[in-house]
Symmetry: C2
Subunit: 411 residues, 2 copies
């Protein structure tokens, strides 16, 4: 049954409070109220940004949809598969939309992400981080029972043998990509004969099925300047692709060559041998990518800023400064820069502790009042999304949907 | 009904997998399994650290309990009240234990934290950040209906009038502390006549009840060297305390003077006028506090490291380096330093992207193997806890309980 407006107001303790405050600024929907409405099938019609709790995460649907469409068209035009990385958004609803726009499935960085995607009906999963140790291996096998097309990267023969043993015990055949490390000395086996030998080992193990190569050059993704980025990626991806071709020359069934980032999507798609793109950030974007520079121009604007943090001015006791309710717990802080203020114009943001940020006013006469709403572009989208449980999807000022960030947490 | 060992193994997809993997290293309990066991009242007997998913948050119960006891004894000995800050742990189970050890209640930084504490039966709440805007004010009034002893800080007459109006409409009387800003230019009104005047305004408003002063000098908390820290806190807290006494001389009912951090607990407790301590980090501790120096010695070790991140070695393709599954999403990154490796000895950690970290081995012959578990001290506890949904409480190697971080999220 659809609750009436009156039931809705009654959901708060004191129905009388809402109208009083409404006269000041806005309705006072809180998270529990919105959740109850959604659970009751009542929707969230009439809710605007001003009604939302802060700090909170906003997804601009127009920008997001344009980003998803543009990358799908790029991959299609280049004759490549697209398997976007879900570690960026950790949101099965976004993954469904990416698949709906033509993606083969999604990449995931953790078993937890894979489990959440599978539970939401998203398949074509590629786990891009090694699954080592009984907890991860056990869960991977359970996942493969549910989603037999799941692929797992492997960078060590010992891990390959453990996976083979577990697959035998679990009655599944695990699809495997050899994780070849272009440069990072992070995960992956170095390019060359050792990697080809690992592919042969995998190919011989009865419960594994070799599918190809995973080569992600994270170090290229944020190289500033398009030409510099292109040179960097070509230099380091070259040996990975040679290794891939060496496997094929040996007759190994390596039909997949997966790589690329949002920074190199239009660079790596021209590399001979590449078969699919595992780009992630393009769907949401952040300051970190804006500043790397595009093919033409200083700002990388191939994709639009779809992600913002909404904050409220909660203290204003000085002419040149105001304090908002979003600090170190509201933003990823792993970059040397903080968030950019998107709206209103003319403000700069600086961290002021766990729960607070300072807005500095370029012009002391600029009017910033208690209760004003501020929208900020996040510094680095992946770890920023990871801080929140949900994103409020907006068109203009109106909240249209609330999507759970269902693959976060437990980490 | 208590599930049998056999039911428990069956909960995985392929019961046969577990014994196979068990022979290698450990059982493979995953999060869902542990949750189901707890929900079924089955407990988690027999689960050790090795069984846990990684990255995950460990709470060392022995160290935690000693920390809680030590701070309670310190406050008692100084004749002060203790209202620990729950923004550090966001965990109602920890709050309950702090109250059980004699605390008056807990401080909270957000309405969301206050709601979670109230829902878990924790009272004596002090909201230490301004509640501005209809969403926060509406929820605060609802909270006061449930917990009439809730206190709210206020730093502006406009906000005081809005709260008074909302309290009238909600039929509650809101307890208020004047938020006096020692230095931070963050939240709070500067010390002096303006702050006294705000106290008088609050005292006159019929639906507010003035209770005292909140003065938190975050800038003092991490000053290195005990004497330097003492001098800093005395310098900046002095005018706050003078303001507090000025209110009392005017006959205002200011009976509470709340302040102090884990860095200044044994400094501020000697300040004349202070009535209660709102220390937070002492319960968990982090690298950030270890390095500020104690009353004697270079390491601040008044409280023990109770919080660790547990990680797994997932890649080992080089002699001098190994990769673990904990990166930028597993640790707070707001400090200039990363986590310290607590166990095993002789390793150093560096961030390697969203999901990975690199262990550098002091000695190339040091044996670090695929699947090894690593325990790390977090750089900064508050935002680190905020990344996780639960903490695994351990004594030695054994997991004794799982506590939900129930006041996180929704931000």
């Amino acid at each position: 049954m659809r609750p009436s407006r009156r039931d809705w107001l009654r959901a708060g303790l004191h129905a009388a409070v809402a109208p009083t405050i409404m006269t000041t600024q806005a309705r006072a929907y809180d998270i529990d109220d919105i959740e109850s409405r959604l659970a009751a099938g009542a929707g969230i019609e009439g809710v605007t940004k001003r009604d939302l709790p802060t700090p909170s995460l906003l997804l601009d649907l127009d920008a997001f949809e344009a980003n998803v469409k543009r990358m799908a068209e790029h991959a299609g035009g280049a004759g490549l598969g697209l398997r976007p990385h879900a570690k960026t958004h950790k949101c099965s609803e976004i993954a469904r939309r990416q698949v709906g726009a033509g993606a083969l499935g999604v990449c995931v960085a953790t078993i937890r992400e894979a489990e959440a995607m599978a539970a939401a009906g998203v398949g074509g999963l590629l786990v891009t981080s090694e699954s080592v140790g009984p907890n991860k291996i056990h869960r991977l096998m359970r996942l493969c029972g549910r989603r037999p097309d799941t692929m797992q990267v492997v960078d060590h023969p010992e891990n390959a043998r453990q996976l083979d043993e577990a697959a035998a015990a679990g009655g599944v055949r695990l699809h495997v990509l050899v994780d070849v490390d272009p440069l990072g000395r992070r995960t992956g086996i170095p390019p060359g004969p050792e990697a080809v030998s690992l592919a042969e080992t995998i190919d011989r193990l009865p419960n594994l099925r070799l599918r190809g190569v995973h080569g992600y050059c994270g170090a290229s993704s944020h190289v500033k300047g398009f030409q510099q980025r292109k040179a960097h990626s070509e230099q380091y991806m070259g040996p990975v692709l040679e290794t891939y071709f060496a496997m094929r020359r040996k007759g190994l069934p390596a039909e997949i060559m997966s790589g690329a980032s949002t920074g190199t999507y239009n660079i790596d798609s021209a590399l001979k041998g590449m078969t699919e793109l595992q780009v992630g950030s393009y769907a949401l974007m952040d300051v970190d990518y804006r500043i790397i520079g595009g093919r033409s121009g200083e700002v990388y604007d191939d994709f639009g800023n779809a992600l913002h943090v909404l904050a409220t001015v909660i203290s204003k006791n000085h002419n040149d400064i105001a304090t908002v309710d979003a600090g170190l717990k509201a933003f990823a802080t792993d970059r040397e820069f903080g968030p950019d203020v998107a709206r209103p114009a003319g403000l700069a943001y600086a961290f002021r502790g766990d729960e607070h940020g300072a807005l500095t006013l370029a012009d002391a006469k600029q009017e910033v009042r208690l209760g004003d709403k501020i929208e900020l572009v996040v510094p680095h989208c992946d770890p920023n999304v990871n801080l929140y449980d949900r994103m409020y999807c907006v068109r203009g000022d109106h909240v249209r949907q609330v999507w759970k960030i269902d693959a976060r947490g437990h980490v």
